[in-house]
């Protein structure tokens, strides 16, 4: 038997909470609905219960919705989050999505809007929380592409994996083009398929997009699967003395890189380093700076720290995170800030793939 989902409603107005409870109780999945009238009360309830969905207002006294959401996204990454607000300023929509919130809704004022809102909530409740691409229940990216192609659809899939973004163009069930960073066509398609997790969204089709991929989607998917299998196979073969190099060694070969430091937040293990004789000092600075600016981002409600670039007379430096690893990379001082930022993204891309 399927467990009943729990929804937490957060708003400082008790009348609105009653109204939401009434409206949301109409959902076909009949979720259990709880209410909280302050951010601190909501945090306590989240601590004590296993909620599936949080629906929060933005404008609240003491702890506003952005503050609550920035904590919630960090503490409960699996929790689905919806903002329901009367704020119309686009900056807040941008910031809400930057925090990783699933839905931003203006408070519905007509029956039609309420109906659409409920449909969105039902869809969110139904989504699987396991690994995979958020957007469709427990489907891999291969499944999604197959679904689009088999149904003869036309669309553009925009796939995001941390700082990496790729697009796949599908026209009448045929893969016609792909793009990922500097890569295009088949190479980009293979690159995107190598990402293990991420998010995707379906954008409107672009029929005028020039076709660069001529192979069938089946052939391309097969090629990708083979390439991934080969990459996972152990390199050992009889009589072949193959040196096993650290993945960091590959990163340190990127143009402009002077050193690479990889750290796992929360672990006490010695960080891996390349090109640094004494990594302890740099590790301490990187951890301290990351924490300092992460906290500042929370206070400003500006979202998680994406990247920090420091320019210096001796060398430049950049901090960024990919999956569960924090990177601190030293760069040649002849590079511009823009070059460091772009190359740092490439380093993360290389690591992710």
């Amino acid at each position: 038997m399927e467990a009943t989902h729990k929804i937490l409603l957060l708003d400082d107005d008790p009348d609105l909470l009653d109204m939401y409870r009434e409206i949301i109780s109409q959902l076909p999945s009949r979720p259990e609905i709880f209410t909280a009238s302050s951010g601190s009360r909501a945090m306590a309830m989240l601590e004590a219960n296993d909620f599936r969905l949080l629906i929060s207002d933005l404008k609240m006294p003491k702890m506003d919705g952005l503050q609550v959401l920035s904590i919630v996204r960090r503490k409960y990454p699996q929790l689905r989050t919806v903002v329901l607000t009367s704020v119309v300023d686009e900056q807040f929509r941008s910031r809400v999505y930057a925090l990783g919130v699933d839905l931003f809704w203006h408070k519905p004022s007509t029956e039609q809007e309420i109906k659409m809102f409920l449909e969105c909530l039902e869809s969110l409740l139904g989504r699987d929380t396991d690994a995979g691409f958020r957007g469709v229940q427990s489907k891999s990216l291969v499944d999604i592409i197959q679904l689009e192609c088999l149904s003869q659809s036309s669309s553009v899939l925009r796939i995001t994996n941390g700082p990496l973004t790729g697009r796949i163009w599908i026209q009448d069930g045929e893969l016609i083009d792909a793009e990922a960073g500097d890569l295009a066509g088949e190479a980009a398609f293979h690159k995107i398929l190598a990402w293990r997790t991420g998010m995707f969204e379906t954008l409107p089709p672009e029929p005028s997009r020039p076709r660069t991929i001529t192979k069938s989607y089946n052939a391309l998917l097969l090629e990708t699967a083979q390439a991934l299998d080969e990459a996972r196979m152990p390199a050992a073969s009889a009589g072949e003395a193959k040196s096993v190099s650290s993945p960091l060694a590959e990163l340190s070969q990127v143009a402009g890189v002077e050193f690479v430091l990889a750290m796992k937040p929360g672990e006490t293990n010695v960080p891996e380093a390349r090109g640094l004789e004494n990594p302890e000092r740099m590790t301490a600075w990187a951890q301290q700076s990351r924490e300092r600016f992460r906290e500042l981002g929370e206070r400003l409600q500006a979202g998680p720290l994406e990247q920090l670039v420091g320019l210096g007379p001796q060398r430049h430096i950049a901090l960024a995170r990919q999956d569960d690893t924090e990177f601190c990379v030293g760069w040649r001082n002849s590079m511009t800030a823009q070059q460091v930022s772009e190359m740092m993204k490439k380093v993360l891309e290389l690591w992710a793939s």
């Binding site: 900056q91 800030a337 930022s341």
Partner: protein, 102 residues
């Protein structure tokens, strides 16, 4: 149906990210600012303190830095070291800016 009235609520004190700049001296005092007065002074002070601390700790780690660029999804902070203090620029990012970046 009265729903519009029911859902309406007086505006609250949501923090809007400002565009502008300010300078802090080596003691962390804000000297000049072009930020809107609605942006809390305590946050301006916090930003100033954090960038000064980052510059100082970098120098202590034998990695002197003259500029810091801190990127959040909805805000970019650029800080330039200035004789022990700093000049700090704040630039909010909108949905359009985020779209063009990707």
């Amino acid at each position: 149906m009265g729903l519009l009235t029911l859902f309406a609520k007086a505006p609250g004190p949501l923090l809007k990210l400002p565009a502008g700049s300010f300078t802090v001296n080596r003691e962390g005092c804000v000297l000049i600012a072009t930020l809107p007065s609605s942006f809390p002074a305590v946050l301006v002070h916090q930003i100033g303190e954090d960038v000064l601390a980052a510059f100082r700790s970098a120098a202590a780690a034998q990695l002197p830095l003259s500029e810091l660029i801190i990127n959040y999804p909805s805000l970019k902070i650029t800080a330039r070291e200035l004789r022990g203090g700093a000049v700090v620029f704040l630039s909010p990012k909108g949905l359009d800016a985020r779209a063009t970046q990707s």
